[in-house]
Assembly symmetry: C2
Homo-oligomer: 335 residues x 2
Amino acid sequence: MLRVPFADLYAVLEKTMSRLGLAPEAAQLSARLFAETTRDGVYSHGLNRFPRFEAMVANGSIDVNARPTCAATFGSVERWNGNRGVGNVNAYLAMQHTIELARKNGIGAVALANTNHWMRGGAFGWQAVEEGMFAMCWSNTLANLPAWGASVPTVGNNPLVIAVPRAQGHHVVIDMAMSQFSYGALASYAKRGQPLPVPGGFDAEGHLTTDAAAIEASQRALPIGYWKGSGLSLVLDMIAAMLSGGLATHQLPLEPTLEAGQSQIFLAIDPANLASAAELNHIADGIVEHLHHAKPANPNEPVRYPGEQTLHLRKENLRLGVPVDPEIWGRISAS
Amino acid sequence: MLRVPFADLYAVLEKTMSRLGLAPEAAQLSARLFAETTRDGVYSHGLNRFPRFEAMVANGSIDVNARPTCAATFGSVERWNGNRGVGNVNAYLAMQHTIELARKNGIGAVALANTNHWMRGGAFGWQAVEEGMFAMCWSNTLANLPAWGASVPTVGNNPLVIAVPRAQGHHVVIDMAMSQFSYGALASYAKRGQPLPVPGGFDAEGHLTTDAAAIEASQRALPIGYWKGSGLSLVLDMIAAMLSGGLATHQLPLEPTLEAGQSQIFLAIDPANLASAAELNHIADGIVEHLHHAKPANPNEPVRYPGEQTLHLRKENLRLGVPVDPEIWGRISAS
């Protein structure tokens, strides 16, 4: 495994972003978000995703010069147009504005239409908790998951992020797609010939299976909780498309390098004027301590909260260097 | 099966509520919510749940005279104290106020502490969509679900409701607990000796199983999506307890008839000033039509959206009479 210093990863990405045509501020922001994603161990949506990003700039799906604009506003809710700009920049700016709305009115929401893949959704949860906010955000995606009872992809895996602020950076951030396993995860189990740890979809005969290759073949991956995740995915798509006035899952191109025009929701609540930091931390610590003291099923695997692993990986990767794919790194660091 | 006219069910419940000590307005509201729950086919949380409600009034867990009070307010977010009042009345009033906040500021939220079981959470989603609002609400519960990696109940099944308004009453409302199956559902599969349709928990040896009785014995029911639902349950509990200043799951009594003091979140967004009704309906109809046209896995079972079944059952139960448990009905209608 090749590891490189975080600063080098950021610098190379920033230079590459500038070369792709992003203005300095946007290049810095987008590069930082890509680099931090790899630093935090979300390898699928950091540097490893960068080649697809480049391809989508090249094929015109992403407009590197576009910035989001406000389309309508009422009280503490706004509708924005992403103008097909860079997905992680659009999402960051949308969450930043959502935080400002929450700071002013206790709560705020931005519905963002016509944007692009935000890469790691969790980034915008971390962005909010670092400002002391509770936050929620989600994106629709192309149809990659059969709705419950359907035999063909109908709904998106629409990632949902919920973030809870805690003291000293020990935030709780869940970043989950509505599919039990991503196609990336299925592919890597199939490649290793390993069974999935739990059923991940249906085989061609319609039986639940842990055989990743069979699920890739049937295209019938499983929503989390079967009918429940299917319904959840549908309502997230409806809220995002209706409030933003943007595209719904069924309207997004099915070819991944053309998947542009997503609709997203950003929501934040500022607790600062409702409760003291001491009260909030006391409640949060009580919940986390209770979780940590739960008897583990496997004595060697203590129970963890969502995001707990992130801090460990972040520390490790900052110390040892951030793991990068040698081929991708070699190419972009040489150019 | 015994069926009774909806008006009779309501009238008997209203009389019984008055006898339990509820003031007229609260008795009417609570009775209506109980009756509508059975009317809509959510039998577990309507009349069938009423004996437990009576027991909790009798044992002092529910204070029939208490009304919720505002504890803190900032902009469009408020913190309320439910004062251990009647759960469905508290939740209805909290959502009503949330809707008023959203009407004024585009979005609003109420965090309600110290309340009681809201019975059917979906009721408050329907309440909001009937006012043209998008809504989300959830409640924490006693610990009835092992967190992922834990061998003992740690988190609640914390029901989550998300509601999307549509024209002509065809709202989309999802009302889902974080457990794959409720203990009520497990009990009825076990009683019939039927396997669950999908794995619902672990047996005593820690293997995934569709054997409901084995799961009842191990107390290791499954969160939806395994680790995902476990994390989701945790963050819902954290937000509810922290924002409301109320109890968290680990602090709620484990004995069901003493389960009092829940924390809940209500959230609404008013789209009326951001988009025309025509635009909103056009987007929603497009999504629902696409879902309805998806190729079903079983040709005899068309794909449905969450809440679609509710309208069918409601119509049927209004036409044929509302199904009631003869023993419970006999007792309360005679008293």
